[in-house]
Structures are given as structure tokens and as C-alpha cells.
């Protein structure tokens, strides 16, 4: 069989890779996404705070703030067509000490400098009347009205689904290890399989510098920064109305309290430098520290139970700004160092990369005529939306904590664009087993429903396998 030749090969299926794939597919490029995990979102993009940021506190004039604001705008433009949810919560940057209170002024001016004109300082009284669950030790806040909460998993999936409908390909379980450029085409290699494409876009997150080496000496070094989180039971989410953000100071990092789109309350993250690129563990002391901080800010948290704990690795570098650049003459674009704002910025980054491509490689950028975009309609997973069980999809609820029906599970396994092929993929597409019981009630049933459909399986290891 002759080897397929792609216009564009995107390495890495995080939110950035998915958005880039979408952008190029919609532009008419024959685009392939390669991901080493069993599903998209195997890196930083599966474990973040899920906030759609305005960029109010990003470094003014940076590429980051430009991409965030472009990404923010495009998300607002397209989310309804993709049926992606959004909670218009607003954010409050809360000062807990005099030192922090003194900084609020500066936060407002920086926000205004970044074009977030509606950011403004509010008094302690206004703060506590809006957030009566907060500890009375709060001193004041900056209100940022257009900070929102989104679904961090459905968004990138929708991007890739739309790309697939526009003709893009994807392959999971595919780790690119090396590559060679023949002057016209890149030939990327996994050791078992080769992929050829004219342009390579490196979106490999915490692996970014290693993959850059295939083409060039990277001008940066990845320094993963871990963030640990606690997800509280849905019962806790009514304790706050807005996203509660910390005032960053030299002495404290502070943590975020936010509702999730799924109706939980999220507390975190920590910020810890580490060497390992792939392993993000949770640690009891850090979790207990978060609980202590969270309960200090929001006393009502005590008594609510913890549904989940998780950690994510920010693909940070020694630099503050994103590291996005094209290598002239080598048909390679590196999209790196998208450390802590990539969910927001992804669509903006994709547009920037497309522009970079047409500026640098005008010969490649002359793609086929773009297809008419088809808009996949994502299933409703948001707590405030009308869920399948409420509509009555003719099937029973399987996961009681998250109220996931058998119909939803089967749809995620059966759908043709990007079906779930792993438990993680199924969980992110449906919320099954994501609830407070961690699968006490439904995991055996889910094992039955997914038999032969997901890898690794939930059960049924043969005795002779060790």
C-alpha cells in the first residue's frame, strides 16, 4: 500500500493539537493528528482548572495574551454551534491580607492595559454580599466579569471531531520517536510506522523540547510544573457564585476555588516544579494543605466530601511567554511552553500558527479549497444543561452519581468521528465513574458494557497474563 502523504502532521493531541488540527483541516489542508496516548488529552489538557480566562492578568503585549484573547473570542463565537457549555460565573480576585489588598489597584490597571476594561475593584462589603460563604477575613476584591467556566474535555474533542468531519485523520497509541526531512516532506517514525507530511506542527506539551530536537535545537527547556487539585462533591458547589482567584504575591501562590461545569467545586492547584515529564501524582500533605487553605477561605467546605483528586503538569519553560516559532526552510512549527492558559488560548494559538504557516511557507499554505464546515453537536454533560436522563433517552441510568445513561455510554463507544477507546476517553466523554462513589455502584456494569471495546479493559485479564 502506498504511504499516505499529508499536508500537515500535528504531533500531540492536547487541546492545542486538537485546535490546530481543526484550524488546518477547516482551511482545506489534509491534516493528520498523532497522539501517543490512548485518546486525546493524555497530557496537561486532561487536568486543568477549566477556566476560560480573559487574559486580565497575563503579561501585557505578550504572545500569550494575544492568543488567549483571540481564543476566548473564538470560543464565544463557536461554542453554541458545537453545543459546548459555558458558565458565566465571573471571577473575583480576593485579597486576604493588607499586602494583597494593596495590590488590587495594580491588578485593575494591568487588566485595563490588557483591554479587560470591565475589571474593577469592589469593596469588602460588596464582596461578602456577593459571596456570603467566604470567610469574613476577606478584605476586598477585583471583579473580572467575563471569566467563565467551560468543559475542558468536550471542547478539544469537539475541535477534533469537526476536523475529522472536514477530512482530518488521527491515530492514537502512536508515539513519534524520530523524523527526517527530505527537503519537501517530513517522514516521522514511531519505530514501527512512518508518516509523511509536508509540514510538521509540534504540539507535544511537556515533551516539546525532546520533539523539537527532531528538527532543531530547541531554544527553551521544558520545566514541568505540577498542579494538584481536589474536586468536592456537587453539594459544595452552591457555596460560591464566582470563581475565587488568589492575588499572586511573592510569598504565597494561593489557590483557586471554582465551580466546575459538571456541578462540582474545584480547589487547587498547587505549583510544584518537578523533573518528570509524564508522572503527576497527588500527595496527601499537599491535598491536606489545599483543604486547610480552602476551608480557611470558605468555612462551609468542612463537612463536604471529596469526590476526586488529580494532578496536572503545566508544560512550562524557563520563559514566561509561549514558545511558538517556524523553522524557515524546514517545514516545521513548534508550539511549545503553553503552560497555564492553553485551554483558553488553543483556538487563538491555532489561528496564529496558521498565519505563521502562510507567512513562512507560502508554497505549502496553498491548500485545497476549504470544505464547508460541519458542526458536530456535543452531548450535554454540563450540570446546568438538559442531560440525557432528563430527556429520557429510553435507557436506564448506569452511573448514579453523575446520572449517565446506558445510551450515553453506548453513543460514546459507537460514534464514528472519535469514539472512546479507553476508560479515560469514555469517562471524559460521558462522566461515567467520575462521581463521588468512584465506581462503587457502576464500575462492574461499565466493565460489562465496555467489554472488548476499550483498552486496557476494566476486567477480564486472563489468568495466564501477569
Amino acid at each position: 500500500m502506498p504511504e499516505a502523504r499529508w499536508d500537515v502532521i500535528v504531533i500531540g493531541g492536547g487541546v492545542v493539537g486538537c485546535a490546530v488540527t481543526r484550524r488546518f483541516a477547516l482551511a482545506g489542508a489534509k491534516t493528520l493528528l498523532l497522539e501517543r496516548g490512548r485518546d486525546i488529552l493524555s497530557g496537561a489538557s486532561k487536568a486543568n482548572s477549566a477556566i476560560l480566562h480573559t487574559g486580565f492578568d497575563a503579561p501585557p503585549g505578550s504572545l500569550e495574551v494575544a492568543c488567549m484573547q483571540a481564543g476566548y473570542k473564538e470560543y464565544l463565537d463557536i461554542h453554541a454551534r458545537l453545543n459546548l457549555p459555558m458558565l458565566k460565573t465571573a471571577a473575583l480576585v480576593v485579597a486576604w491580607t493588607e499586602e494583597q489588598l494593596a495590590q488590587l489597584d495594580g491588578i485593575v490597571s494591568k487588566a485595563h492595559e490588557n483591554g479587560v476594561d470591565d475589571a474593577r475593584q469592589i469593596s469588602r462589603k460588596d464582596l461578602l454580599s456577593r459571596e456570603d460563604g467566604l470567610s469574613k477575613t476577606a478584605l476586598g476584591a477585583v471583579e473580572v466579569p467575563r471569566e467563565y467556566v467551560i468543559d475542558p474535555w468536550s471542547a478539544p474533542l469537539a475541535y477534533l471531531k469537526q476536523a475529522v468531519r472536514a477530512g482530518a485523520g488521527y491515530q492514537f497509541d502512536t508515539e513519534i520517536k524520530s523524523g527526517a526531512f527530505d527537503g519537501e516532506y517530513w517522514h516521522l517514525d514511531t519505530g514501527q510506522q512512518r508518516f509523511s507530511g509536508r509540514l510538521v506542527i509540534n504540539c507535544t506539551g511537556t515533551n516539546g523540547d525532546n520533539i523539537e530536537h527532531i528538527c532543531r535545537k530547541p531554544g527553551f527547556e521544558i520545566r514541568p510544573r505540577k498542579g494538584q487539585f481536589l474536586v468536592y462533591d456537587k453539594s459544595a458547589s452552591a457555596l460560591i457564585n464566582s470563581i475565587i482567584l488568589p492575588v499572586p504575591t511573592a510569598t504565597t501562590k494561593g489557590v483557586v476555588l471554582t465551580k466546575t461545569i459538571f456541578g462540582n467545586l474545584l480547589l487547587g492547584p498547587t505549583a510544584e516544579e518537578q523533573q518528570d515529564r509524564n508522572v503527576a501524582t497527588v500527595e496527601r500533605e499537599m491535598l491536606e494543605g489545599l483543604i486547610a487553605t480552602g476551608t480557611e477561605m470558605l468555612p462551609g467546605l468542612a463537612g463536604h466530601s471529596v469526590t476526586a483528586t488529580y494532578a496536572g503538569l503545566r508544560p512550562a519553560t524557563q520563559f514566561k511567554d509561549y514558545q511558538i516559532s517556524a523553522e524557515p526552510g524546514k517545514n516545521w512549527i513548534g508550539v511549545n511552553g503553553i503552560r497555564s492558559t492553553g485551554l483558553t488560548a488553543a483556538l487563538g494559538i491555532a489561528a496564529f500558527v496558521e498565519k505563521l504557516c502562510s507567512e513562512t511557507y507560502s508554497d505549502i499554505a496553498d491548500f485545497r479549497p476549504a470544505p464547508i464546515p460541519d458542526w458536530p453537536v456535543m452531548p450535554v454533560l454540563a450540570e446546568h444543561g438538559k442531560r440525557a436522563y432528563q430527556q429520557g433517552d429510553g435507557t436506564e441510568i448506569v452511573c448514579h452519581c453523575e446520572r449517565v445513561t446506558r445510551g450515553e455510554i453506548e453513543a460514546a463507544l459507537d460514534e464514528s468521528d472519535v469514539p472512546a477507546r479507553s476508560l479515560g476517553g469514555l469517562r471524559r466523554r460521558t462522566r461515567v465513574m467520575m462521581g463521588r462513589c468512584n465506581g462503587f455502584y457502576c464500575s462492574a456494569r461499565v466493565a460489562e458494557l465496555t467489554q472488548g471495546r476499550i483498552s486496557p479493559p476494566l476486567a477480564g485479564h486472563k489468568k495466564d497474563q501477569t
Binding site: 466530601s305 462513589c437 462503587f440 464500575s443
Partner: protein
């Protein structure tokens, strides 16, 4: 004409729900429905197949499914609606329910929540490490082995040494799966000592004073790391981890409703007749006292159902107001948690509670300055302690306290 759809709606078809339905049915009520979100009735016993039920109700040991079948034979007229989830409880006897056709509301003269208990899984316990597949609970294990007939792993470790931990051991033995070890944070097992015999017979070591410091494996579990006595680290290769015990009530519906809750554990307040702050709602079974034996829950459900029958028959005038049962340090929860007087029933009540740490000393109930009950007791955290025939004083809060040494080995 009443605007009620039915007389009594019972949520949950475990032993306590079936019992309440039985008592009501025997009292002549026809219009009662038991709602069950699973496809089959029975609650926990549905998937607990060893003979740990029936001793008190039928005077012989029975498997969970046999126990349930025998209980159902006692209430042939009761209607069960399965694959039906109650999604909300509202004032005025209103329940919102979801089934294959969508949402619906019904109104009942009285509602009995019998939603049971489950184990606290890994995340709720803040156990460190990664999140691989293969980390489950005993309840899930039972459903894998008995309901789905699937093997989730071959070499698991069991966390905990409560009765239910040995239940996990039993289930594994049935499936021919040999666990690698059991681990216990304390210096002795939480269940009665003879339970260790089963572990011995299966050749499964129990590591005491041991906690998990790491869970490894990106996709599937590869090993855990443990710390014993705060200084000895060990790696235990395994492909499964079963978090057993550490029960918690399944009070999702109650906690999201108008019912008054105990703020420290978000369990709905119930009086000595299992009536909540809303006199048209009862909560019974392990939802409020995770977790007692199935037989106990059944017997409780019979009493609670009989009380509701009297209430609906108009034979009881109940005070709207209630008094709190307060408790001091070392006590996790009490049932009842409030007291309410009526013109019916006993001026004495029984009080059950659980301790947070082993305790040896005097259990004391006082009403203001006055001590109304005193008894020397040995208490272990996983066991229910019941004080009987406590004099009841309408309208006054009482205090339960432990006088003596906590943290001693009983």
C-alpha cells in the same frame, strides 16, 4: 379528593426499604411504591453472596440474594419500580424521579428514604499516587465477581480490616483470586479477631500500622508503596487495590433537599422514630448509620414503617419542634440525632453511636447538669454501640459524652 398520587413512596429496595414496605403493607396500606434505581431490587445483599445475613430475622445464615428473596416473600403485595432513580426530594411530599422515559414528579403522603451506604473510595480518603485502573471498593468487587462475572484483577491488596474487608477476602476466594496482602493503619484488625482466621487460611498476610504512600501505574496498577510504623517502606507489586469499609451514607437526595442536616457530616437529622425535620419524611437504614448489618436494618425498617402507618392512620400527634442530641469529642455520629415527642410510643428510646477512636470508659448522657444515663463501655470505631431504654425528656437537648480514655485498645 387528595392531591397525593400514592400513600407512601419508599426510596431504595435494600433490607430497610423492603422492611418499611412490609410493615406498611401489613398495616393495610395498599398504595405504596418502592423505587429502586438498579435493575434488580435488594440493595447491598443483592451482590453479597456469602451467608452473612438472616441470623436475626430468620434465625439462620443466608446469602444476600436468598435473604432478599425471603424478605420479599413476606410482602407479596408491595409494588417495586426498578430502574427508577429518585433525583430530588421537595417539600410537600414531592419526589422527582427519572426513568427511561425522562423525568416525572409524584406526590406521596409520606416519603421514606432508605438509600443505604457505600464505602469511601480512594479519592475521598486522599490516598496519594497516580490514578490507574484496578483501584476499586468491596462493593464494586462483589458486583464484578457475582453480578458481571468478570475478574477485575488477579493479585489485589485489600485496604482495611473491617468485617467487610473479610467479605472482600471471601469474594476473592470464591473467584479463585489470591490477594497479596491486607493492610491496616491501626495495630489490630477492626473486625472481631477470629476474622483473621480466614486470612490465615488463605495465606494472606496482614500488615498492621501500615499506610499507603504511593499508587503506581499510568494505565493499570503496577504496585503500591507502603509505610509501616512511620519508618519502614515497602513496595508491594499488585494489579488491584480494594478499599474496603470506611462507610458513608448515600444521602445525596436528602442532603440536596430541604431537610435539616448535621453540618459536620451532612447526614439528615432523624428522631427516635426515624422522622426527619420534615414530618412527612423518614430516613431509615444505613443512610444515617453507615454501616450496620442487614438484619439490623431490616428490623429498624419494620419499626419505622409501623410508625409511619400509625402516623398516616392519624393515631399520632407529633410535636413539630425537636431537641438535639449533642455529642462530645470522640463520637462520630448518633442515631437518632434529634428527639421529638408525640402522644404515642415509648417514653424511653434507644441511642446508637459510633466512636472515632477506640475507647474504654464510661458513656454518659446528661440533660443539663443532670446525668440521666451512665454505663461503662468498651468501644471500637467500626462497631455500633447501642444504649437502651434511655428516659426521654420532651423538648430538651441532651448531651452524649465519653468519660475515660480514648485511643486505648479495647
Amino acid at each position: 379528593m387528595s392531591s397525593f398520587d400514592i400513600d407512601v413512596a419508599i426510596v431504595g429496595s435494600g433490607p430497610s426499604g423492603i422492611a418499611a414496605a412490609t410493615a406498611l403493607s401489613q398495616a393495610g396500606f395498599k398504595d405504596i411504591v418502592v423505587y429502586e434505581r438498579e435493575a434488580d431490587i435488594g440493595g447491598i445483599p443483592r451482590h453479597t453472596h456469602h451467608p452473612s445475613f438472616g441470623l436475626r430475622v430468620f434465625k439462620r445464615p443466608m446469602s444476600g440474594p436468598k435473604f432478599i428473596a425471603a424478605l420479599v416473600r413476606r410482602c407479596p403485595d408491595v409494588r417495586f419500580e426498578t430502574s427508577t432513580t429518585i433525583t430530588a426530594l421537595r417539600p410537600g411530599g414531592v419526589l422527582e424521579l427519572a426513568n427511561a422515559t425522562g423525568l416525572q414528579t409524584i406526590r406521596a403522603r409520606h416519603i421514606i428514604l432508605a438509600t443505604g451506604a457505600r464505602e469511601t473510595p480512594r479519592h475521598g480518603r486522599l490516598v496519594p499516587g497516580l490514578r490507574p485502573q484496578g483501584v476499586i471498593t468491596t462493593g464494586a468487587l462483589q458486583q464484578f465477581i457475582y453480578s458481571a462475572k468478570l475478574r477485575p484483577f488477579e493479585r489485589p491488596v485489600i485496604v482495611g480490616t473491617e468485617l467487610v474487608s473479610f467479605s472482600a477476602l471471601w469474594t476473592l476466594r470464591h473467584a479463585g483470586i489470591k490477594p497479596v496482602a491486607m493492610i491496616e493503619t491501626g495495630p489490630r484488625i477492626s473486625a472481631y479477631r477470629p476474622a483473621t482466621l480466614l486470612a490465615k487460611a488463605m495465606g494472606v498476610p496482614i500488615h498492621y500500622n501500615t499506610e499507603i504512600t504511593d499508587i503506581s501505574g499510568i494505565e493499570t496498577l503496577t504496585q503500591i508503596t507502603t509505610l509501616t510504623r512511620g519508618n519502614k517502606t515497602a513496595a508491594i507489586p499488585c494489579d488491584g487495590l480494594i478499599f474496603s469499609g470506611c462507610f458513608t451514607g448515600e444521602n445525596t437526595i436528602a442532603a440536596a433537599s430541604h431537610l435539616c442536616l448535621n453540618p459536620s457530616n451532612r447526614i439528615p437529622l432523624v428522631d427516635q422514630n426515624w422522622i426527619t425535620s420534615d414530618s412527612a419524611v423518614s430516613v431509615i437504614g444505613n443512610a444515617t448509620h453507615p454501616a450496620d448489618m442487614g438484619d439490623q436494618c431490616y428490623l429498624e425498617g419494620i419499626k419505622a414503617g409501623a410508625y409511619v402507618a400509625q402516623l398516616l392512620a392519624g393515631n399520632i400527634a407529633m410535636d413539630k419542634a425537636f431537641a438535639e442530641i449533642r455529642h462530645g469529642d470522640g463520637i462520630k455520629m448518633t442515631t437518632p440525632s434529634i428527639l421529638r415527642s408525640d402522644n404515642f410510643g415509648d417514653p424511653l428510646f434507644d441511642l446508637s453511636f459510633h466512636v472515632t477512636a477506640p475507647f474504654k470508659g464510661t458513656v454518659c448522657i446528661s440533660h443539663g447538669e443532670q446525668v440521666i444515663y451512665e454505663e461503662p463501655r468498651n468501644c471500637l470505631p467500626t462497631r455500633r454501640i447501642t444504649l437502651r431504654n434511655i428516659p426521654f425528656q420532651a423538648g430538651h437537648p441532651i448531651d452524649l459524652s465519653l468519660i475515660g480514655k480514648s485511643d486505648v485498645i479495647a
